[in-house]
């Protein structure tokens, strides 16, 4: 499968990428690792006229601690996130999640910012960012704004990124001692979650239970009110309207959400 023809330009800096986005218009797409975009282009589900390559901008890679947050460059590959000593110590849920994306070759190329901007509700990292109460830095003509995970995912493969904006970094709170659990139900190794659940302390996020990653708020409230994990997890699917597909109908997804939320809570370490 071969993508439709397009032009290619390598950005020299984040500012240059913004200029290019501005001058090339809405038909231009940003390319980092290309592990979401290129498969879509090969299937002709996407046919941008120009790709602006930001995959090798040093400004967009790397991991650092900044006060009580970890800051991860948007073009940092999953493999680097998964094996970073800093992330494993201060946000192990994120390292674990990045280590479950695809397979080793995919993790060498795919990037954290790309996965979040792609906003697949069945993907690992959007759920992880929401569970961790993280945020993203977004660079636009007016400067950088910070968007909480809660506000970033707005719909099915949709985010609050505006045309002409660039996701530059991902921020997660440093919580070295927090107890966390992570569950993902799949039919095949390496696959996207049929349903996923990530819990850290009393906060629970779900994957593939709606058009965006979701908080299991009723279950969180029950925990806050003193319920045990099993009792709270019974409420994990409250208020969700999951989609149906060949893998699971709505009731089955709700069942999975309850079971996986319970396991995520019970296995918090």
């Amino acid at each position: 499968m071969i993508p439709a023809p397009f032009d290619y330009v390598a950005a020299q800096s984040p500012a240059h990428a913004l200029e290019l986005l501005d001058s090339l218009g809405e038909d231009a797409k940003l390319l980092a690792g290309g592990h979401s975009l290129l498969p879509m282009m090969k299937l002709r589900l996407a046919a941008p006229s120009v790709l602006i390559d930001i995959g090798r901008l040093a400004e967009l890679t790397g991991i650092r601690a900044e006060g009580d947050e970890l800051v991860i460059g948007a073009a940092t590959p999953h493999a680097t996130v998964a094996t970073s000593d800093l992330i494993r110590a201060d946000a192990p849920l994120l390292a674990h999640s990045a280590g479950l994306v695809g397979d080793p070759q995919i993790r060498h190329r795919g990037t954290i910012g790309g996965s979040l901007a792609h906003a697949d509700p069945a993907a690992d990292l959007p759920m992880a960012l929401l569970a961790l109460d993280g945020s993203v830095d977004v660079l636009g003509q007016a400067g950088t704004r910070n968007v909480a995970a809660e506000d970033f995912f707005t719909g099915f493969f949709e985010t609050s990124l505006e045309p002409g904006e660039l996701l530059t970094a991902v921020r997660v709170p440093r919580r070295p001692g927090a107890a966390w659990g992570y569950q993902k139900f799949v039919r095949r190794a390496n696959d996207w979650a049929i349903v996923g659940a990530a819990a850290i302390d009393g906060r629970i996020a779900l994957a593939n239970m709606g058009p965006t990653p979701l908080r299991a708020r009723a279950a969180e409230q029950a925990l806050a009110d003193g319920a045990g994990p099993a009792e709270a997890a019974e409420l994990a699917a409250e208020g969700t309207e999951p989609g149906e597909d060949v893998h699971a109908d709505r009731d089955y997804r709700r069942h999975l959400a309850r079971v996986l939320a319970r396991r995520a809570l019970e296995h918090r370490t």
């Binding site: 439709a4 290619y8 479950l100």
Partner: protein, 193 residues
């Protein structure tokens, strides 16, 4: 557009379309047919090559994304000298032959390159780490047992002749994958399964 890169150590400069996938560049422009197009959807791993020493699926990399970088294919593992094929087998290739880590052979070049990449990141993998490290490569013949055996044999052989890893440049980013914290992760993996 003009792209310059290194393929198996040789500098090349070619005029390519931006949409030319790396696997097609290697097979059709360079004439290197080891990397196979299997699934063409980033799943099967038959097209695995090393990019700056790190395993990637070349069906999902644009040639222009490899500009200025080192691409290594299975042909590049057994070089006599500069750009000349037909040298001694790389220890991983030798181990695949010795342990009969193949049947039809279609997945083998990708499997070998993934194994070389894995051993450069984790020179002393356990059997489980080999199996997980090759999870991006499908074999529809062998049932994987001899492949895993071959990679473990290669690791043991490479450990015996330190430094023989040769062609695979140290990736630099993911070096710490192996040891510290593996036990804890193993528990998580079981919980998650």
């Amino acid at each position: 557009m003009q792209v310059e890169l290194f393929v198996n150590g040789q500098r090349r400069s070619d005029d390519v379309e931006p949409r030319l996938l790396l696997v097609h560049y290697l097979r059709e422009v360079c004439g290197l047919r080891a990397a196979n197009v299997g699934c063409d959807t980033t799943s099967c791993g038959a097209c695995t090559v090393l990019l700056n020493g790190t395993s990637v699926k070349s069906c999902t990399v644009l040639t222009v994304q490899a500009a200025g970088q080192q691409v290594t294919t299975a042909e590049g593992l057994a070089m006599k000298g500069e750009g000349e094929a037909g040298g001694e087998l790389h220890p991983v290739q030798a181990a695949f032959r010795q342990e009969h880590g193949l049947q039809c052979g279609f997945c083998t070049p990708g499997m070998v390159m993934a194994a070389v990449g894995l051993l450069s990141e984790n020179p002393h993998p356990t059997e489980d780490e080999v199996r997980e490290g090759l999870e991006g490569n499908f074999c529809r013949c062998t049932g994987y047992h001899n492949i895993v055996r071959a990679v473990l044999a290669a690791a043991a052989g490479l450990a015996g002749t330190a430094g023989a890893a040769g062609t695979a440049e140290a990736p630099g980013t993911a070096g710490a994958a192996g040891t510290a914290g593996t036990a804890a992760d193993g528990e998580r993996a079981e919980v998650g399964a």
